[in-house]
């Protein structure tokens, strides 16, 4: 895979350094449809295809993340509040990290087959471990004194979870969600292996898109991942109570 050199003059003129010259063609690829340098004649790249693939990736990732949150947070809250199942919760987190996403996607592709629904479920499953573990640990680490005080003033157990433990565990839960999001976006990138076309298609399809396409895909995926990361980091800040933020300083 040689650094793509074929790009047009337009954009690459702004990238004077030889190191970055290789990126010129990629950026050209993102914005302008062009004939494939590899297969010849076939039209590839351009903003329209980029948006289409990006949309699939965003859709699949958001759905998967939402599903993972819906499953993992309540379960984590329940067991965290009860204080049981520590080994399971932490064990799932550890095991989840050890699963190679390439093998997971490849196996799905080879065994179950393809489709947005299957992919979403698989991605959600990969997103569950970090959220579950962080929710559990976040709740367990809540100072026992305020919880006791809450019980003392007559709060019911669900109220304690909602009004005391949950707000204090927000930073930890959000860390888990950010970790899950990173996993999901990364895995969605290789989803074309399982038949769902995301931005990763550019990356995996050098045969069609050429070196510029591969690099363009990498740039787009990186940007998308960072958008998710910044959005979630912003959300984390908004959801964390000011008192906790002050305490952390």
């Amino acid at each position: 895979m040689a650094p793509g050199g074929g790009g047009g003059v337009g954009v690459s003129a702004f990238l004077p350094h030889p190191f970055f010259a290789g990126f010129g063609g990629a950026i050209e690829f993102i914005f302008n449809e062009q004939e494939s340098t590899v297969t010849g004649g076939k039209k590839v790249g351009g903003i329209e295809q980029v948006l289409e693939l990006a949309w699939t990736q965003i859709e699949v990732s958001l759905l998967a993340l939402a599903l993972a949150i819906l499953i993992a947070v309540p379960v984590g809250l329940y067991f965290g509040h009860k204080g049981t199942g520590e080994l399971v919760a932490v064990g799932i987190g550890n095991a989840g990290r050890a699963v190679p996403e390439l093998a997971a996607i490849a196996l799905i592709a080879a065994v179950i087959g393809v489709g947005v629904v299957t992919l979403t479920i698989v991605l959600a499953v990969l997103g569950i471990p970090p959220i579950l573990t962080n929710t559990f640990v976040g709740i367990r680490q809540v100072d026992r004194a305020p919880v006791d005080a809450a019980r003392g003033i007559g709060m019911t157990e669900p109220e304690i979870v909602r009004k005391v433990e949950l707000p204090m565990a927000v930073p930890s839960i959000m860390t888990g969600i950010r970790g899950a999001s990173i996993n999901i976006i990364a895995t969605a990138t290789i989803a074309p292996l399982a038949g769902v076309l995301t931005l990763g298609d550019f990356i995996l399809g050098e045969n069609v898109y050429g070196a510029d396409g591969v690099l363009a895909g990498a740039i787009l995926v990186a940007v998308l991942a960072l958008i998710f990361e910044f959005a979630l980091a912003g959300l984390q800040r908004r959801l964390t109570s000011k008192g906790l933020r002050l305490q952390a300083q």
Partner: protein, 254 residues
């Protein structure tokens, strides 16, 4: 097999993926290999287990080198940030960005700069570990009891002595914890090194723009997971051995 991979609908799908492919790759078609309902083909596995040796060693090397480099950099950055508080936020954000970029994209972004090969994979994998290790070292240092530091200062320990004799030893559990998470995740992610021709177990899952077949995927994935768990166990042991006072604390509270 062919029906399980219906045409591999990459927009770029090239060539037929089917029995022919496996015949070509493995030399002969074993009975179970040809049947799509077979998830795991023992015959093939016993016959071809040798081919996983080199990729396993490569994967191991990728992980160890990347984590070592990542640790050296992250630890240095953490000590800097500990000394110069102003650096804390920018370093957290910077390593966070490196962490958030999917590794596949990272590998390929490096292509125009470093080309294909091991260096590229190691750079991307080390960059990935920075955030995990940096964050754990910092929180380990932050969790050292204020009274212990105050007492140390009152006894005439210099800042450097306090760092090396009090703060860092007390931060060991979290530092090793960071190493543990970083190593385990790196084992999983290093399978992606196949995309930059850096070898590793990924070569047995995906090669020449194609997926191999389930048995190979399961074996390669299984080896990666076992390797991750082995690292996990090693770090757990190190953590226990390096922090005898923690065991004392656990016993005291039991």
């Amino acid at each position: 097999m062919a029906s399980a991979l219906p045409g591999l609908p990459l927009a770029a799908a090239v060539g037929e993926v089917g029995e022919g492919f496996f015949k070509e790759r493995t030399g002969a078609t074993l009975p179970c290999q040809a049947r799509p309902s077979h998830l795991f083909c023992w015959d093939w596995a016993t016959e071809h287990i040798n081919r996983f040796g080199t990729p396993t060693v490569q994967q191991f090397e990728l992980v160890v080198i990347s984590v070592l480099i990542g640790f050296a950099i992250a630890f240095g950055l953490a000590l800097l940030a500990h000394r110069f508080r102003l650096l804390q936020w920018p370093l957290l954000a910077g390593t966070g960005i490196l962490f958030a970029i999917p590794s596949v994209a990272f590998f390929l972004l490096l292509l125009p700069i470093t080309g294909t090969g091991r260096e590229t994979a190691i750079i991307a994998l080390s960059a990935y570990t920075l955030q995990i290790i940096y964050r754990n070292v910092m929180s380990g240092l932050a969790n050292v009891p204020e009274s212990a530091k105050d007492a140390a200062r009152g006894m005439g320990l210099t800042d450097r002595q306090i760092l090396w004799r009090v703060e860092l030893p007390l931060a060991i559990p979290e530092i090793v914890g960071g190493l543990r998470i970083a190593t385990v995740s790196t084992v999983a992610i290093a399978t992606l090194a196949v995309f930059v021709n850096a070898g590793g177990l990924g070569t047995q899952i995906y090669s020449e723009s194609n997926l191999t077949f389930p048995t190979a995927i399961i074996i390669a994935g299984g080896i990666a997971m076992l390797m991750a768990l082995a690292f996990d166990a090693v770090f757990l042991t190190v953590q226990r051995l390096a922090t005898p006072w923690r065991r004392a604390a656990a016993e005291a509270s039991a």
